[in-house]
Symmetry: C2
Subunit: 91 residues, 2 copies
DNA sequence: CGGTATCCACATTGATACTG
DNA sequence: CAGTATCAATGTGGATACCG
């Protein structure tokens, strides 16, 4: 999920669509906790629309370093680790 | 515990003595799993003695990068994070 | 000292149904 | 679409007692 956010995904449905197959209740609870710890914030998904999108805060973006370190470790030391995650464009 | 190993601690009792206060059964089970995944290996603690010590493998040492990334994140973003961990001397 | 063996408490997960 | 509400299943952790 954090990975999804780092990849630029931001909508509830995007997270649901991820290959893990997370149930809505779990996703919802996790988002609450991330909001609580200010790792993500909510922003309007579309201008004027009623739906919300989730964006990483600076604090959340900083987690990228950890995720990348884990990814690298996996690629080097664990067979079968796939490298889907590429650092996001800072556009 | 990985942190302890990175700091050069290697004995069962050393891990037990850590401030977390881990019970023997949990510690034992975790060491088994780390052995299984070849993150640690067993070596004789004293030459000739019957006791064992645990040492990180290369794979295990590589986890240091992740631990440090987490430590750094904590120091920057979470108040009250203490910085006990300093990278080990490569002697 | 370095573990095993029990047993219980609690947190996390997951499936599923329902709602504004 | 974006959740909330239940409930059962599983995992993980912790206390404690015991053993070679």
């Amino acid at each position: 999920m954090i990975r999804d956010l780092l990849l630029g995904r931001s909508r509830f449905k995007d997270f649901l669509a991820s290959p893990e197959g997370i149930p809505t209740n779990i996703l919802s609870e996790r988002l609450s906790r991330l909001l609580e710890h200010r790792v993500v914030t909510q922003v309007p998904a579309t201008s004027g629309g009623r739906h919300l999108a989730y964006r990483l805060t600076k604090k959340g973006e900083a987690l990228g370093a950890i995720i990348l370190a884990m990814r690298d470790w996996g690629l080097v030391w664990e067979k079968g680790t796939r490298a889907g995650l590429v650092p996001m464009q800072v556009t």
